[in-house]
Symmetry: C2
Subunit: 336 residues, 2 copies
C-alpha cells in the first residue's frame, strides 16, 4: 500500500470555520483512504463539530492551536507573533515533514507570508506564485501569479510557466499543457516592458508548450491551460471572472423573476441551469496552490464551503503521489 | 436654433462596413435633428447603401475617400501613407474644424495614432486615454485608459480621473461621479508602484470625487462611475468583462437546450432574458471616446452594428453642447 498523504487543515480559517472546514475534512477522508487530515485549531470546538459525523478515526486527528489569525491583521506581524495560531502550527507541521501539505481558507496574506517564511522556498525558486484554478468554457486553466507580490521579473514569469506546466500535467492530468502569456494583443511586440521581455524567454524554453500571447478576451474561452502573468494582472483576471459571473447570474435570475411567464419558465430551466453554472464556479475546483515551496500550501476562498475544502484536500494526494516538488526542482535546476 | 453638430463617420471601418455603418448613420439623423453626418469612404458603395433608406438629405453627406486602412496594417505607417483613406480624411475634417467629432469602427491603432498625430492633443494633456463605457449591475462606468500606450505615469492617471469625471458628468449626466483607482486591494498601501504613487494625487485633487481603491471584483457591481488605471490593466478589465459575459451566456443558452423540459422553459424566459442581457452588453452604449484631443474621436467595436454607430453619433451631440473640451482645458490648466 502506498504511503498516506498527510494534510494539515486550518480548521479556524475562513468565514465558515470551523463548521464547513470540519465537514469538508470529514468528506475527504470518507472519500479517499489515502489521505490523513490533521485538523489544526481549538480542540473543543473541533471536537464538537466532529460529533456530527462518522468517519474512519485513524484518518482524522485534532491538533490543538489556541490562537486564530484574523484576515484584517497585518500578515508579517501575525505570523511572527501568533506562534500558537492554527496557520502557524499547520505551517510548521509541513516544514518539519509531519505533513505533506496544508489547506487554509484563512488570511491570504498570512498564508502567503507563512508559506515563504516558515515552509520555505525550493532552492532556486525566485518567487512562489499563488496559482488558482479557474473555470473556462472547455474545462479549467491555472492562472499564475495571483499572489501579493506585484512587479515580477521576466525570469520569474518563466519559472511560473514551468511550475504551472508541471502542476497542470501531473495534478490535473492535462498532457503537454498550453502555456499562454497574458497580454493586451497577440503579436510578439505587444504589451509592456515585462511581457515583451518575457515572450522570448518562454518561446525559447524547451520544457514548456508556449502558444504565445493570450488576450484577456480569450481566457474564458479556454485557449490556454497555463496562464502566466504578474500578480497585479493576475488578480484583475481572477477578480473580474468572479465579479462578472456573480453580477450576470444575479441579473439573469432577476430577469427570470420579472414576469409570470418567465417565472414559470425559470422553474423549468432551473435544474439544467444549476448544473451549467456549477461548472463555471471558481469554488468547484478546490483552492489555489502556492507553488515552489518545500511542501504544498493550498489557499482556498475565504468563503469556502465544505465542497471546496474537500476538493483542496483531495488535490494534495496527486501532488504527493506525482512528486510535483521533485519535478519542479528538476525544472528549476535545469536553468543553472 | 442651436448650431448643428457635425460628425464625420468612417463608412469603411469595421467588420460590417459599409452596410451597418451607413444604417447607423441613417438611424441617427432620423432620430435627432441636431446632427449632420458626413459619411467618409468610397462614394459608389455608400450611395448604393443609402438607396435603401429615407432620411433628411440635408443631414447626410458623402465625402469620397478612395483608400481603406485595414486592421492588420501597422498604424503609424498607414496613417502616414494612406492620405486618401477614410480614417485620415475624417481626422482632417475634425482637425480643420469642418467636423466636431469622428466615429470609426476601423483599426484601433490607426484611430489612436491618427487622433494624436492629426487631430492633436489639447495643450497640457500628457496622454489621451481611450475611455470605453462599460455596463455594470447599476448602470455604466467609464474605464480609462484602455488605449495602446501602457506604463502610464501617476500624473497621467490624475488627468484621466479629471477628464473622465468631466465626461461622465456632462455627457452621461452622472452628478459628482465617483472616481475609483483600479487596484488589487482597497487599502491605500496596496498595489504596485504606480497605484501607490497615484493614490495620494487623486486623494488631494479637489476637482474629483475620489472614493479610493476599487478591486476588480467590485467593478461589475458598479461601485464607481469613473475607473482609473493604466492601459494594460484597463485592457484586461474590458476584455475579461466581454469574454466572461460571452462564455457565460453561451453556457446558459447551452444549458437551457439540454433537455425537453429546459427547452420549454427557455421559450418562456427568453423575452425577459433578452431584455436583461441587452442591458449588460458593451455594444449598447456607443463607442469609446479618445479624450483630451482637439475634437472628439470615438472608437466603436470592430464588430459594430448599426445600433452602436447610432449611439456613438448621438453621443457627440452632448459632447459638443456641453463644451466638454472647454471643461477639460479648464481642468488641465488648473494643474499649472
Amino acid at each position: 500500500m502506498a504511503e498516506m498523504v498527510n494534510v494539515a487543515v486550518d480548521a479556524m480559517g475562513g468565514d465558515n470555520a470551523p463548521g464547513e472546514i470540519v465537514k469538508g475534512a470529514v468528506e475527504a477522508v470518507n472519500e479517499d483512504r489515502r489521505v490523513k487530515v490533521f485538523l489544526v485549531g481549538r480542540e473543543p470546538v473541533i471536537r464538537e463539530e466532529l460529533k456530527k459525523y462518522t468517519y474512519p478515526a485513524e484518518q482524522l486527528e485534532i491538533v490543538h492551536a489556541e490562537e486564530v489569525i484574523d484576515t484584517g491583521e497585518p500578515p508579517v506581524m501575525a505570523i511572527r507573533r501568533k506562534k500558537d495560531s492554527s496557520i502557524v502550527k499547520a505551517m510548521y507541521m509541513v516544514k518539519e515533514g509531519q505533513c505533506d501539505a496544508l489547506v487554509s481558507a484563512g488570511s491570504t496574506g498570512a498564508v502567503l507570508v507563512g508559506g515563504q517564511v516558515i515552509v520555505g522556498r525550493i532552492k532556486g525558486v525566485e518567487r512562489p506564485p499563488l496559482a488558482p484554478i479557474i473555470p473556462n468554457a472547455e474545462g479549467v486553466s491555472l492562472l499564475l501569479d495571483c499572489g501579493a507580490n506585484v512587479d515580477a521579473r521576466p525570469s520569474q514569469l518563466l519559472q511560473f510557466a514551468k511550475m504551472g506546466s508541471v502542476y497542470m500535467e501531473s495534478v490535473l492530468g492535462v498532457k503537454n499543457p498550453r502555456v499562454g502569456l497574458v497580454n493586451i494583443g497577440v503579436e510578439e511586440e505587444k504589451g509592456n516592458a515585462l511581457t515583451r521581455e518575457t515572450y522570448p524567454l518562454l518561446q525559447s524554453c524547451p520544457e514548456i508548450n508556449f502558444i504565445g500571447n493570450v488576450e484577456a478576451r480569450d481566457i474564458p474561452a479556454g485557449v490556454a491551460d497555463v496562464l502566466v502573468c504578474e500578480a497585479f494582472a493576475g488578480n484583475i483576471v481572477l477578480k473580474m471572472l468572479e465579479g462578472v459571473s456573480d453580477v450576470l447570474i444575479k441579473k439573469i435570475k432577476g430577469g427570470m423573476m420579472s414576469s409570470l411567464r418567465s417565472k414559470i419558465g425559470a422553474l423549468l430551466v432551473k435544474p439544467a441551469l444549476k448544473k451549467t453554472l456549477k461548472g463555471f464556479s471558481t469554488e468547484e475546483y478546490g483552492g489555489a496552490p502556492l507553488l515552489g515551496l518545500n511542501g504544498l500550501v493550498v489557499k482556498t476562498h475565504g468563503s469556502s464551503k465544505a465542497i471546496e475544502i474537500r476538493h483542496s484536500i483531495l488535490q494534495c494526494i496527486a501532488f504527493k503521489e506525482q512528486n510535483i516538488n521533485e519535478k519542479i526542482k528538476e525544472q528549476i535546476v535545469l536553468e543553472d
